[in-house]
């Protein structure tokens, strides 16, 4: 960034909608990570502390746990997307997010 004229940021406009979208995306990812962390902890990690490392069983459990959590997530998404009672396609906010995601980069 050039010191002269304060750099390019000076000339850029802030679009609050875009920040909101980034915020929503961040929250979605963050929530998913937190869930994954706590789920796989309760399911895989023994609550005794003979050693500080994860043992082999716990390691492979965690790996499979993460994979299955994502697969469950995907399956749920596919199932709900075509569910008539839970019609996410018609929700105004969903349409807005989708249109913003698919608009060409400037």
């Amino acid at each position: 960034m050039s010191l002269f004229l304060g750099g390019q940021a000076q000339f850029q406009n802030v679009d609050p909608e875009k920040i909101k979208l980034a915020d929503i995306q961040f929250d979605a990812q963050n929530l998913m990570f937190k869930k994954l962390l706590s789920k796989c902890n309760t399911k895989c990690i023994a609550r005794e502390y003979g050693e500080a490392d994860l043992n082999t069983g716990e390691q492979s459990c965690v790996d499979r746990c993460a994979e299955k959590f994502f697969k469950t997530n995907r399956l749920m998404g596919e199932t709900l997307q075509y569910n008539r009672q839970f019609n996410i396609q018609k929700m105004p906010d969903y349409q807005k997010v989708q249109s913003m995601l698919h608009q060409p980069k400037n």
């Binding site: 850029q12 875009k18 920040i19 980034a22 990690i45 500080a52 995907r74």
Partner: protein
């Protein structure tokens, strides 16, 4: 998120930093309560015994290693997911 311009990125960065701070505090208090539950059960003395201290150290280290591993798997699975979404 890559569609944000520099100024928007700066604003978004501030939001993210606040969230990270909040998350860290929550993680910290969860870790304290978990390791306290699992390691401290004897109240005949007010100070932590040697056994309790080593247990707490190992508990926290194990938790951090678990987080690290889950973080790696999360990134891998997430990359896969993005790939699948783009191919559709």
């Amino acid at each position: 998120m890559d569609q944000l311009n520099v100024k928007e990125q700066q604003q978004f960065q501030q939001i993210v930093e606040q969230k990270q701070m909040k998350d860290f505090m929550r993680l910290y208090s969860n870790l304290v309560s978990r390791c306290f539950d699992d390691c401290v059960n004897d109240f005949t003395t007010g100070s932590l015994t040697t056994k309790e201290t080593t247990c707490i150290m190992k508990c926290s280290e194990k938790f951090l290693k678990h987080s690290e591993r889950v973080g790696q798997r999360f990134q891998e699975q997430n990359a896969l997911l993005m790939q699948n979404m783009q191919n559709r």
